[in-house]
C-alpha cells in the first residue's frame, strides 16, 4: 500500500530494551480522518509504540511514516505535524492553564499575541475558560486531561496521538472527553488512541488493533472483531446455591462449552441458533426448578474478543 494515502504507516517495528523485546515486529496502518484504536492489556507495548510513532523512542528496527514524513530520519520535522497527549497528563502544577498553553504555543514558534489568542481559543473549546488563570494544581483529573489535550492541539496537528486519554477518569468525565475527541474527528483530525477500555474502542474507533506482549494479534473494525468470534452467547446468572446444579444442566445441553466465569459467577454457552437455544435453556431451568436471576442472549462484545485473543491475563501483569 502506498504510504501517501496513510496518515500513519508503521512497518515491522522492533523495539528492544536490553534483553527485553517490547515490540516484536509490529505493523500498523491508519487512514486520514479516522480514529484508530490500539487496544491491549497493561504492558502490551501500547505506550512504547506511541513513543516510537511520536519520535520519543528510536526503534531497533523497522520503518515509521507519519503524515508522509519518515519519522526516524526527520524527527524534528515530524514533530511539527503531530500532537501527543500522554498517559500522565503532563501539566505543570505551578502554571495556570493559560500559561501552559501560551508556553507550548510559544515553543511552537508562535509570536506572543498569536500564542495568547490560540490559548484563549483552546481554553474556550475545552471548557476551561473559567479556570484559565488558576494554577493547575487546583484542577480535577478531568480538567488536567483536557488541558493536556489542549497542549497537544496547539499547533493544529493533522495527526493526534492520545495515550490512554481517559484512564482514571470518572464515567461522566470520560463521556465529555469522548465528545471532544469526536469533535476533533469531525474537524478532520486523524487520531490514534490507546485504551484498555473496550467500550471506548467500540464507541470511538473506526479500526482497531489488539496488541499483546509486543505483537499485534488481531485487527479490524469492531464489527469484524466481534464477528471473528462467530457465535452469539447465552449468559445465565443464578443464585450461588444453584450454580453447580445449573452448570451441570447446561453441560447436558452444550457439553464442555458451558463454563462458569470465575469473576462474574455467570455461566455462558455459545449458540448458533440464538433464540431457540435460549428457549431451551429457559425450559430446562423451569423443569429443574432453578430460578434465573438473569438470562440473556447477546452478540460477542469486544470484551469477549479481548479475553479470547489475549488469553485472560490482563489482570496479572503490572507494567
Amino acid at each position: 500500500m502506498a504510504s501517501k494515502n496513510l496518515s500513519i504507516d508503521v512497518d515491522n517495528v522492533v523495539m528492544k530494551f536490553g534483553h527485553f523485546t517490547a515490540l516484536d515486529g509490529v505493523s500498523l496502518k491508519a487512514s486520514y480522518g479516522k480514529v484508530t484504536g490500539l487496544l491491549g492489556p497493561n504492558g502490551a507495548g501500547k505506550t512504547t509504540l506511541i513513543k516510537v510513532m511520536t519520535t520519543l523512542l528510536k526503534p531497533s528496527q523497522g520503518q515509521v511514516v507519519v503524515d508522509g514524513i519518515n519519522v526516524l530520519l526527520h524527527d524534528k520535522e515530524a514533530r511539527k505535524h503531530i500532537g501527543l497527549a500522554g498517559q500522565f497528563a503532563a501539566v505543570d502544577e505551578f502554571l495556570t492553564g493559560r500559561e501552559t498553553l501560551v508556553m507550548v504555543a510559544r515553543l511552537y514558534g508562535m509570536p506572543k499575541k498569536q500564542a495568547e489568542e490560540k490559548a484563549s481559543e483552546l481554553l474556550d473549546k475545552l471548557g476551561l475558560s473559567d479556570a484559565a488563570d488558576r494554577q493547575t494544581k487546583t484542577y480535577s483529573g478531568g480538567m488536567r486531561r483536557r488541558l493536556d489535550l489542549g497542549a497537544s492541539l496547539v499547533a493544529t496537528p493533522k495527526v493526534l496521538f492520545l495515550d490512554e486519554p481517559t484512564t482514571g477518569l470518572d464515567p461522566r468525565t470520560r463521556l465529555q472527553l469522548w465528545d471532544i475527541i469526536r469533535d476533533l474527528v469531525r474537524q478532520g483530525v486523524t487520531i490514534l488512541l490507546t485504551t484498555q477500555y473496550l467500550e471506548e474502542a467500540d464507541a470511538l474507533c473506526d479500526y482497531i488493533y489488539v496488541i499483546d506482549k509486543g505483537k499485534m494479534i488481531i485487527e479490524g473494525t469492531s464489527e469484524d472483531l466481534k464477528k471473528s468470534l462467530g457465535q452469539d452467547i447465552i449468559e445465565l446468572k443464578v443464585a450461588d446455591s444453584n450454580l453447580d446444579k445449573a452448570h451441570k444442566m447446561l453441560k447436558k445441553l452444550a457439553g464442555d462449552d458451558a463454563v462458569v466465569d470465575d469473576l462474574t459467577r455467570r455461566i455462558r454457552i455459545h449458540t448458533e441458533s440464538g433464540s431457540e437455544d435460549l428457549l431451551k435453556v429457559a425450559n430446562e431451568l423451569k423443569k429443574a426448578n432453578i430460578k434465573a436471576e438473569e438470562l440473556s442472549l447477546h452478540r460477542p462484545t469486544l470484551d469477549d474478543v479481548f479475553l479470547a485473543v489475549t488469553g485472560n491475563h490482563a489482570e496479572d501483569t503490572d507494567k
Partner: protein, 254 residues
Amino acid sequence: MSGISNTAQIVKRNVKRNFRIPQLLVFSSIQPVIFLLLFNFVFGGAVGGGGEVKYINFLLPGILAQTALFGAIQTGVGLAEDLNKGVIDRLRSLPIARYAVLAGRTLADSVRNIFVIILMSCVGFLLGFRFHQGFINFAFAALLVVVFAYAFSWVSAVIGLLLKDSETVQVAGFLWVFPLVFASSVFVPVQTMPSWLQVFARNQPVTQVVNAVRHLTEGGVADGSQYIWRTLLWVAGLMVVFAPIAVWRYRKIQ
C-alpha cells in the same frame, strides 16, 4: 535563533517553578539564611573571635559558594522530577532545540542564585559584612559565584538524567557536594587540615571560588587574582565535559 527563544520559554517556566513552589522557595531563601546565622553565631566566636577580620567577612564568601552548590543539586532533582511527571516527554514531542530544555533549566537556576546571593548579602550586611574592595569587585565576585554554580548545574543535570529519580538525585547530590564544601576553605583555613587532605582541599574548585570571592570582597588573600583564573578554568573544564554529556543523555532518554 529559535533555539534561543525556545530556551527563553523554558527559563520562564522554570523561574516560575522556583518561585511558586513554596518548599523550593524556602529551600532557596530561608535555608541559606539560617546557615549563615548559625555558622556566624556558633563558629564566629571560636574560629573568628581573636582575628582582625570579622568572621562574617570570612564566612559569607564561603556560604555563598555552599549555597550555590546546594542549589546546583536542585538542577538534577528538578530534571528527574520533570522526567517522571512526563513533562520532558511533552517537551520532547515539540519541535524545539534539543538543548533548550537543559539550558532553560540551568539558566533558571542561575536566576534563583542571583536572587539568593542578593538576599544573603543583605543579611550578611546586617551581620557586619562590608565590601572592603569596593562594590564593583563585589559585583564581580557575585557573578563569579553564579558562573561557578552554573557549571555545577550541568554536573547535576548529568546526575539527574542518569539516576532519574528525584529523591535518589537529592541523596546522591549531598554525597558529592558535602566533601567539596567541607574539605575546602569555606569554613576554616585549609592549613589546619591533615596534609593528605590539604592536597585535595587546595586544588578542588570550591576553594578556588571561595578564595577568589574573599580576594574581591575582603582582600588580603595571597596571590588573590590567581584564584579568579583558577575558578574560571574549573568552570570551563566542567562545562566542556559535562554539558555535552548532559545533552547526549537527554537525547538518549527512553
